[in-house]
Amino acid sequence: MTFMVLQGSFELGIIYAIMALGVFISFRTLNMPDLSVDGSFVLGAAVSAVMSSNGHPFLSLGIAFLAGCGAGCITALLHTKLKIQPLLAGILTMLALYSLNLKVMGGRANIPLMNKATVFNVLEKTALGDYSKLIFSLAVLLLMLLLLFLFLNTRLGFVLRATGDNDHMVRALGVNTDSVILMGLALSNGLVALSGALIAQSQSFVDVGMGIGMVVIGLASVIIGEVVFGTKTLLRRLIAVVLGSILYRLIIAFALEIGMPPTDLKLVSAVIVALAMAMPIIKKRLSVVKRKLTVTHHERSK
């Protein structure tokens, strides 16, 4: 692998890690499969691109985050107030966002940001130079990681994690789980949209179809991280998500390196996620088989 491929994989891995943290909140802490990610990713990118075209690249990151929060709220309200299943609520939001994203983009399916001020080409003129993407993305990621870690350790954060584990118990304690879910999904989709905004800035274009399969990429990152780096403490879990995202990019770069057609990459991602999801079951079966073997072995030796 050339240095450029490595650098590119790290840049992408770091930016997508912010999205993976969002997916981690919905899937792992809230235990809700939220598919609105595919839409809110593009929403963040679209908001950011439109604002950058008008000369506010840095401000656009914050607004993109808030827009993502709004999208997350809609999914949460569909689920909590209208009692629509989480999976379907996410799909509905994703579908609606497709049209909304086109609206944001002024009816165009594609906005190039060539020769417009983006966060990165502003920073490239400073001392950061060639490494501006890497450094700035990493700074944003670490800030998000820190805030998320601090938040999940507050009372409210504990309630959020408990809601995912056992919402009946949390409700029995007199907490309104609806507003907890609302907050969790807003935060999750805010992070996803922020990641989309950074991607738009980094590749200098937005395309309405760029969010397809994002949720799987996020999930793959979360799971690869868990399998490789473990889930002992909260901090370790969060860092595992980030490393998982970078590792995912490296896996793809490697697959391209050995000449695998990118058309197969989505299949590979799906297989990775399915295998990792089935890990507990596979381990259980294996241990049963092992026990049987040892028992029979034991009986024979009698």
Binding site: I63, G70, C73, N110, M114, A186, Q203, F205, D207, M210
Partner: protein
């Protein structure tokens, strides 16, 4: 208290979302004028907003006007864009067919395929279809016969590579980046492979499925190739800025299939002038509106190609265009 706070916060966030939508919402340009009986109705369907396709549409409408067909006076133009969504194409095609329009103009191959399946009697005029035979739009280029004819924007990989040889004579390994699900790209890439075989060059392929794959795919070519080639590929055209970014950093020349891709940072093309393509399509539209049968008009392939160059990109990667290359260029972008 907490609940109220949550409600307020969520309301604020939703407001932000709504605000960001309305703030950026474009001014609606809806065609609500009721067509009178005498006016001929023309439906234009376009797969996606993209500079080349927009140019075709604009110059087609201009040509119609020049030949005496003015929107809102003696014709009504209903322009619909599918925003890259195949299902929308179907809906638009059905709308055009059921309203019995007098002429349907379909821009780009997918639009044409959708319309051709919808009507067998309304005249259909396609534009910017790279391979009308291979896409099943017509069975004969000279005498289409049925209700379909149009203009093709087939580019020749050979011509583009010929230009590439003039600018960067030492290239041996060509990285081809394209979306393998776009028939228009595949035909040009096959053409490129034939050319490479004859001129003992090698082709390294990197296919993409979505504009978000492009960055990693282009990066994977770095170090393996001396130049990058992309046909008129809608996916790559959408992601041109990032192709340019990666290629410029690696000092690789990017040869492309369309002038708009040069404008977005590609180094050079020997390709179609979409303005002329639109004008030619407009002339065919005029013939049909004046009563000629679409099937009697041969499909037109552009004979004259134009050279487009990008000086800014050349500067970035340290290439100087020779004087004779510059002289033969129709347009030079950048400075």
């Amino acid at each position: 208290m907490k609940k109220r706070l949550a409600v307020i916060i969520s309301a604020l966030m939703t407001l932000t979302l709504v605000f960001s939508l309305t703030a950026c919402a474009p001014n609606k340009v809806a065609d609500t004028s009721k067509p009178s009986v005498a006016k001929k109705k023309i439906g234009i369907v376009q797969i996606v907003e993209h500079p080349s396709l927009n140019t075709i549409r604009e110059s087609l409408i201009k040509e119609l006007q020049a030949k005496g067909f003015k929107d809102g006076e003696n014709i009504t133009i209903d322009y619909q864009n599918a925003q890259g969504d195949q299902t929308n194409l179907k809906t638009i095609a059905q709308k055009f067919a059921s309203n019995k329009y007098d002429l349907i103009v379909a821009i780009a191959t997918p639009s044409a395929q959708a319309v051709v399946n919808e009507t067998k009697d309304i005249p259909i005029l396609f534009s910017a279809c790279t391979d009308p035979l291979g896409s099943g739009l017509v069975t004969n280029m000279e005498k289409p016969g049925a209700n379909v004819t149009g203009t093709s924007d087939a580019v020749s990989a050979e011509k583009i590579m010929g230009l590439a040889k003039r600018i960067t004579p030492d290239i041996k390994r060509i990285g081809a980046i394209y979306n393998s699900s776009e028939t228009n790209s595949v035909s040009v890439i096959n053409n490129l492979k034939d050319y490479a075989k004859k001129n003992n060059m090698s082709v390294v392929e990197a296919t993409v499925t979505n504009s978000s794959d492009v960055q990693q795919s282009v990066t994977s070519l770095v170090g393996k190739v001396d130049a990058i080639f992309s046909p008129i590929d809608n996916t790559v055209a959408s992601a041109m800025p990032v192709v340019t970014q990666v290629a410029n950093k690696a000092k690789l020349p990017v040869y492309v299939g369309a002038d708009s891709m040069v404008k977005d940072g590609g180094l050079a093309t020997y390709g179609i002038n979409y303005d002329v393509l639109g004008k030619e399509t407009g002339d065919m539209a005029v013939e049909i509106l004046n009563g000629k049968k679409a099937g009697d008009i041969p499909v037109k392939t552009m004979k004259d190609m134009d050279i487009y160059l990008n000086k800014s990109t050349a500067k970035e990667i340290g290439i100087n265009f020779s004087d004779d290359v510059l002289k033969s260029a129709t347009q030079v972008f950048g400075n």
